[in-house]
């Protein structure tokens, strides 16, 4: 394993695994699926159960994985699972229960093309599923979209921090490009797993044992009294407004003098950045806004940029999903168009430049 501060070359999926061990995760439960299998493979290679004591378990299915995560999270543990699109669909019931029971956990989705079993090639077509709920009921995930192997590593600890801060599941929404690509990365420093005492202290809600003193902690998403259930929902909504207030993250490049704006996340933001450079070389004043949190979405900043630019292009590897959130933010002030490729085909920078020229007219 690499020492601290050492620059190493690895795949995004491998970075997730190393970062999970290093940030003191207590457990990983998963089931292999392309293009994210290296997460489980790397954990199996690293054998963290021999070093940090982290549990790594290949479950019998994605449904089992997410319910093991539910159990671990209920006990206040830092637990995660990872999968790819079809597997994450199978987890939706469990994710909804975890959100309903207000438990922290991390779900990593390395997206592939759908619908259905689809293809194993990269896609961003699970945007709606990730940011609008995904399972049943009024709930939200905190969704982070890494655009590099470095961010794959960095967002693991950040996800856990946010998940525990708000007692809410977090998701890293990546894709086959970032998962399979190798890049330079500096892995986060080792952080010890929390002791039972620390968990009791930090998570008074967790099922850590009463020790004969307090009332039992009950973790459930079930509440048959609708008046009580409405109260719970209102409390959830208040929490979501707080997250929207405090946790929006985005990156802007070349936006100061921009006459046009590209909005893109994850791998697409990298492709769009090259397209932006190429377009600027041709004299088109274009900037890039990259949402880092997909929920909460940087609606305010996009609305602010809409006052300045003549048009916005949303570039996604899907048929047009984030573009809806951009249009909601922009409220018709400027034209907003979408460009994307589907089913596992990744757009190249030239295609994005052409789409931008289409927007300019």
């Amino acid at each position: 394993m690499a020492t601290e501060k050492e620059v190493v070359l690895m795949k995004g999926n491998e970075a997730i695994a190393h970062a999970a061990i290093r940030c003191g995760a207590d457990g990983y439960f998963g089931y292999p699926i392309t293009p994210q299998s290296e997460v489980l493979e790397t954990l199996a290679e690293q054998k963290p159960w021999e070093t940090t004591g982290m549990v790594v378990l290949q479950a019998e299915s994605e449904v089992a994985s997410i319910n093991m995560v539910y159990g671990g999270a209920g006990a206040g543990k830092r637990v995660l699972t990872s999968s790819s699109s079809p597997g994450v669909s199978l987890m939706q019931e469990g994710i909804s229960y975890i959100a309903g029971a207000e438990l922290p956990c991390l779900v990593v989705n390395v997206m592939r093309g759908g619908p259905g079993l689809g293809t194993i090639q990269p896609s961003q077509a699970d945007y709606f599923q990730s940011v609008k709920g995904g399972g049943h009921g009024d709930y939200r995930l905190i969704v982070l979209a890494p655009a590099s192997v470095q961010e794959m590593a960095d967002f693991v600890d950040l996800s856990f921090e946010l998940a525990f801060k708000y007692r809410n599941p977090a998701m890293i929404l990546s894709d086959g490009v970032i998962g399979q690509m190798m890049e330079k990365v500096v892995l986060p420093p080792f952080k010890p797993r929390r002791t039972e005492e620390e968990i009791r202290e930090e998570c008074p809600w967790a099922t850590t044992g009463r020790h004969g003193k307090r009332q039992p902690n009950i973790i459930t998403s079930l509440e048959l009294d609708p008046a009580e259930m409405e109260k719970r929902n209102i409390k959830l909504q208040e929490k979501y407004r707080l997250i929207e207030e405090n946790e929006v993250r985005y990156e802007e490049i070349n936006c100061e003098d921009a006459e046009y704006l590209i909005v893109a996340f994850g791998s697409c933001a990298r492709i769009a950045q090259k397209a932006m450079d190429d377009a600027r070389a041709q004299g088109i004043k274009v900037g890039l806004l990259r949402p880092i949190t997909l929920w909460p979405f940087p609606s305010k900043q996009i609305a602010e940029r809409a006052k300045q630019v003549k048009g916005i292009l949303s570039v996604e590897i899907n048929a047009g999903q984030m573009v809806e959130d951009i249009r909601l933010a922009v409220e018709g002030r400027v034209p907003v168009q979408h460009f994307g490729r589907l089913g596992g085909i990744v757009p190249d920078p030239d295609e994005v430049v052409n789409a931008l020229k289409g927007l300019i007219g």
Partner: protein
């Protein structure tokens, strides 16, 4: 310095590992690198390709529309990538896998008989390092020293005795690459 390279051929030819060693060599020189495989249900005999970028500056897109250099090791890959080489760019092909050589006149075309040379060396596995040698002759983006360091880092210790052979293969590739067409 920024080199945008596609390496394409059959699965089993060492396409992905050649790219990996090039990327690691860049890392040894503190350069920015990306290694983006066209992953898929590929297997020995299927097609495989990898995009490698080695640069002095931060790399934006790991996915490219056009390449500075295309290393082409079979006919289907030539058909796929010949038109994606930048004008003035380079195609390197191995004569063994290519029946119909590149037709474009606005690019530099080089041939490397790496399959034959590997057979002469009595080691078919030297093939991809010979090709890498050819590339480094034309575009010395990393030093042989860095490649050796990269091999030391990426190969398991039990294979370290093969490093001198790999170094020899790189030098062989530098010798035997020949120009077929100048842009």
């Amino acid at each position: 310095m920024k080199e945008e390279i596609i390496i394409a051929g059959f699965g089993g030819q060492g396409v992905l590992s050649m790219g990996k060693i090039l990327a690691y060599s860049g890392l040894m020189e503190d350069k920015e690198v990306t290694w983006m495989p066209a992953y898929g249900p590929e297997q020995r005999g299927g097609t495989a390709n990898v995009t490698v970028i080695v640069s002095d500056e931060r790399i934006s897109s790991p996915i490219l529309s056009q390449y500075d250099v295309a290393i082409i090791l079979n006919q289907p890959s030539l058909e796929k990538f010949e038109n994606k080489v930048k004008p003035g760019g380079i195609i390197i092909y191995d004569s063994y896998g290519i029946a119909t050589p590149p037709m474009r006149k606005d690019i530099h075309v080089f041939r490397i008989d790496a399959m034959d040379a590997a057979a002469e060396m009595g080691n078919g596995k030297a093939f991809n390092m010979i090709v890498l040698g050819g590339l480094l002759k034309l575009r010395p983006m990393v030093s042989i020293d860095s490649v050796v360091k990269a091999l030391r880092k990426t190969l398991p210790e039990r294979h370290h005795h093969l490093i001198p052979m790999n170094e020899e293969a790189i030098r062989k590739g530098m010798e035997i690459i020949k120009e077929i067409h100048q842009a």
